[in-house]
C-alpha cells in the first residue's frame, strides 16, 4: 500500500514515459531519461512497460516497503542491499512489509530505475505521472522525493512471478558512450573544422548537467559566421551550440523553444543512452541518415516486445 523514502538520494523522482501533447503550452515531456531501462524494470514486475518507476541519479535512495510487492532495479549499477543481503540489477525480488532496500556505491551508469508491482495511487498530471524537476509539474507533492515521503500505492492481489532479464536485452553501462546523430537544421553553418571535431573527437559530460540538458566539454565548436537565431522549436535530443562553443544536448526537461543553433540531433533509438551519462563520462557522435534512424527505431521497438 505504500513505499517509504528513508533517505532520498539524488534527484529521486517518479517517472514514466512522460507527457506528450503539451509542448504548445511550453510543457516538455519530462519522464525517464533512460526509457529503455524503465521499460525493462516494468517488464520484470509484470507491469505495462510505460508504468511509473522511481528514478534516481548518482546517489540511490534508501527505501522501506510497507506492503508485500515485487520489485526490480535496472539501469545504473549500484551496490545494493535488500535487508542487508546483496542484490543485483535485472531480476525481480519479492519484498514484505518492513523490508529495506539500500543503495550504496555507484559502480556504473548514472540513473537507476526501481519498479514496483503495485500501482501508484496518484492523479496523473497532464496525462502523466512524471515529475518535471525544472518546472515543478508532478503527480507527487514535490517533484523530487524527500526523506519520510510516502509513495501511496494500491494493493494488488495478483501473484507476480519473479523474472530475470534475457541476456541479449542487457546493455552494459559504458564510460565511453557513442550516440548516433542526424544533421540539425543549422548544421551547415558549422565550420569545416567544427564538423571534424564533432565526429572525430570525444566530449566530456559536465557536472552541471541535469534533466534539462547534458552539457558537454570539448574542443571549441564554431559557426562560419555569427548567426542570431530567432527563437525556434527544439526537441528531445537536439544538440544546440551556445556562444561558449560547448554543445548542450536537450534532455526530457529541455525547453520547448530555444535560441541557439541546432547543430545535430541524437536519433530516437539512442536517446536512452544519455540517461546513463554520469559527469565526466565521454560521449562521441556517429552520423547516420534519417532513413537509418527511423529503421533503427523500428528494430529496437520490436526487440522490446518481450
Amino acid at each position: 500500500m505504500s513505499i517509504k523514502i528513508l533517505r532520498p538520494g539524488l534527484q529521486t523522482s517518479i517517472q514514466d514515459l512522460g507527457r506528450s501533447g503539451f509542448r504548445h503550452l511550453g510543457v516538455s515531456q519530462a519522464g525517464a531519461i533512460d526509457s529503455y531501462h524503465l521499460k525493462l524494470a516494468n517488464w520484470l514486475v509484470s507491469k505495462p512497460l510505460h508504468s511509473a518507476c522511481i528514478e534516481s541519479y548518482l546517489i540511490g535512495p534508501t527505501i522501506e516497503f510497507q506492503s508485500s510487492m515485487t520489485i526490480a532495479i535496472t539501469g545504473a549499477q549500484f551496490e545494493m542491499l535488500l535487508n542487508a543481503m546483496p542484490i543485483s540489477n535485472n531480476r525481480s525480488y519479492k519484498v514484505r512489509p518492513g523490508d529495506r532496500l539500500e543503495f550504496g556505491k555507484l559502480i556504473s551508469g548514472a540513473r537507476a530505475y526501481i519498479a514496483f508491482s503495485e500501482k501508484l495511487s496518484y492523479q496523473a498530471v497532464m496525462s502523466s505521472y512524471s515529475s518535471d524537476t525544472t518546472s515543478g509539474i508532478a503527480a507527487t507533492q514535490t517533484p523530487t522525493l524527500k526523506a519520510d515521503d510516502i509513495i501511496q500505492t494500491l494493493d494488488s492481489i495478483d501473484e507476480i512471478p519473479v523474472r530475470t532479464l534475457a541476456k541479449e536485452l542487457v546493455i552494459p553501462n559504458q564510460k565511453n558512450i557513442v550516440v548516433r546523430i542526424t544533421k540539425g537544421l543549422e548544421y551547415s553553418r558549422l565550420t569545416k573544422k567544427s564538423k571534424q571535431i564533432l565526429f572525430e573527437s570525444t566530449f566530456k559530460v559536465d557536472a552541471n548537467s541535469n534533466r534539462m540538458g547534458l552539457r558537454l566539454n570539448g574542443d571549441h565548436l564554431e559557426l562560419k559566421e555569427k548567426h542570431e537565431m530567432v527563437s525556434s522549436p527544439i526537441v528531445l535530443g537536439t544538440i544546440q551550440l551556445p556562444k561558449s562553443g560547448q554543445p548542450i544536448i536537450a534532455l526530457n526537461e529541455g525547453q520547448t523553444i530555444g535560441g541557439y543553433p541546432r547543430i545535430v540531433q541524437v536519433i530516437g533509438t539512442d536517446l536512452h543512452l544519455l540517461g546513463q551519462a554520469a559527469p565526466n563520462s565521454k560521449i562521441s557522435f556517429y552520423p547516420v541518415s534519417i532513413d537509418k534512424a527511423i529503421f533503427l527505431h523500428q528494430c529496437k521497438t520490436k526487440l522490446l516486445k518481450i
Binding site: R23, G26, V27, L185, V230, G268, Q298
Partner: protein, 228 residues
Amino acid sequence: MVLHNFSIHINSDCSLLVQFEEEPNLKLTEFIHSFIASIPQLNLQGYTESVAAYQSVLLIFDPLNWNYQASIQQLEQWLNKFEPSKFNAPKTIKIPVCYDSRVAKDLTAFCEVKNISIKELIALHTKPSYRVEMLGFLPGFLYLSGLNKKISLPRKPVPDVKIPAGSVAIGGNQTGIYPIESPGGWHIIGKTPISLFSANHKQPAIASPLDFIQFDAISYDEYLDYVD
C-alpha cells in the same frame, strides 16, 4: 491571398519543421496559428503534436507510424493553397502588475540606465496591447510582441539564478512574465500577484496565441491585498 514562402525540413527521426522565410510579422503569426489549427484535417499519418514559433512550425510524429516523404508532400500541397481562416475577435487579458522596487529588484537600476522615471516606465509599459505570439520556453510563458523600443534593454550578461514566479521583465525587445520560478537574464521591472499557469486546469495557461495582454499598474498595497 497572402503568400508566405516556406520550406519543409526534416528536423529529426520523428519531426518536421516548416520554416517561413520572411521576418516575423503579425500576418505570419496569424497564418501560422491558423495553419496549426488546420493540421488535424490533413490526417497526417502518425502526427502527434505541433509547436509554433515566430517563423516556424514544428510537427512531431510517431516514428513507428510515419512516412516522412508522404507527410512532406501532403504539407506542401496544403500550404501552397492554404488560406488562413478569420479568427474570432481575440481576447484581451488584463494582468495587474505592481511596479515597485520592493517586488522588482531591477526596477531602479533599469530606470537609471534608461534615464526615465518609474512613472514614465509605467506609462510606456502599460500603454500597448501586447500580442501573444506563442507559448514556450517555460510552461505558460507568453512570447509577447509590441514593446515600445524606448524601454528595450539588452539582457543581463550574467543571468540571475532565481527569478520568482510572477516577475514581469524586459529582455532585449521583448517583455514577458516568468510563470514559474526560473533562472533568467531579463530585467525585473514588476510583479503580478496572479498565477499564470496551473497544470491541473483544463486551460492551464492564462492566454492563447493571438490574444492580447494589457498590463494594469497596481500599487504595492493593492499588490499585498491581492496576495492575501
